[in-house]
Symmetry: C2
């Protein structure tokens, strides 16, 4: 058959949506409403729609909105997983993405959608465990060098709050002086004029936000946020 | 239609095979022998064969052997490119890979296959220019932190030869002391007992090779090979 010499391959996207809850990195899982694995918790995913989607990324954005109620998160392509055995329907290929959102950007929990800590995952269908593990590894590695974890913060945050987010993502405590130095070299924040957080501490803390140019692109540095620094 | 609710998407792989020639990073291009773009230089690529390939990676390995005569190079997935406009045949998705080989691992130049410097590319069909640029950017970024450029070297090399390879990849000169320190921290090399290179210099130079465990996985360090170091 001209133009399609091989039988069709199943083309899907899957999204690893990460957030921080209870001080831990958690992944959003959605209960599947069709076969295969009907009723089982899985990554939100679905077919690429040739008619609607201008790219695999478009499909990922659509799937996140439809299945998780999340709009315009920070989203990056992770890796493509493929082969004859990963989906019982046949030879399949899934372009996997990861997204980072603050907990407040998630809709209130509803039937069929929930968060699970990445370090205590339930059994997952397809190769979704492998996809989550790859996403967590990528996010941890990239967080050493970049502004990536800021996308887990609310729009306004203090430096101690930001440090706690980095520590939760990296799974290790970070020296405060070293952290401040890296944040400076990333040049990713702007102080919000006149805005202080009045918490329980004696001194009110300055509030910051991500600079506009880094909302959809990362700030990167050459040297990592090494916990040993 | 149950199990295939959408018309098939064209699933292909494309490979950015990089080598060092004349002191510059070069990409292998192959002349296409069919439509679209028949006779035009392009990245070696092709359909994923559902019958033969156990993964997109398998397809990339097969394509490299068939179209470039290259077996078992260092190969990593780059990114998946997709959309309705990138291939005139229709909605398509290409899983792109990059491979690094020493020039000596390439077959002698033959009709239809050639090397082009990545900084002086001819016009390329599809979105192949974008794919090459993404591969070069990835290789340069990763070379800061890892053993990646070693795969451009012959099996045995001296430290000055290795430094020249890193410099060619990064496109910048590197301080010798800083380079030696990074190579030490990567712990990726072993001296070849009793093997010295007797070149034109007065002192013969020790020959090294990549340690076995890093032939298919990278050695990574936290701190980059920053030219400013």
């Amino acid at each position: 058959m001209a133009g399609a010499p091989h039988p069709p391959i199943i083309c899907t996207v899957d999204v690893v949506l990460l957030t921080l809850a209870d001080g831990a990195l958690q992944v959003l899982l959605a209960r599947r409403d069709r076969e295969p694995f009907n009723g089982v918790l899985a990554l939100p995913g679905g077919y690429i729609h040739r008619e609607d989607d201008q790219s695999a990324r478009d499909a990922a954005v659509r799937v996140l909105a439809d299945k998780a109620g999340v709009a315009s998160p920070y989203l990056e392509q992770l890796e493509t997983f493929s082969g004859p055995a990963r989906d019982p329907r046949g030879w399949s290929l899934s372009v996997a993405y990861y997204a980072l959102v603050p907990l407040t950007a998630l809709p209130t929990p509803h039937a069929g959608v929930g968060l699970k800590p990445v370090d205590r995952l339930p059994s997952l269908p397809f190769d979704h465990r492998q996809i989550v593990d790859a996403a967590v590894q990528r996010v941890r590695a990239k967080s050493q060098y970049s502004s990536l974890p800021v996308h887990l913060c609310d729009e306004r945050f203090t430096l101690p709050q930001l440090q706690a987010v980095y520590e939760a993502v990296l799974g290790e405590s970070i020296n405060k002086v070293s952290f401040r130095r890296k944040v400076d070299s990333l040049a990713m924040l702007e102080a919000i004029e006149g805005e202080l957080e009045h918490g329980r501490a004696n001194r009110p803390a300055q509030l910051y936000r991500l600079r506009r140019e880094f909302r959809h692109a990362l700030s990167m540095v050459d040297r990592g946020l090494n916990p040993r620094d």
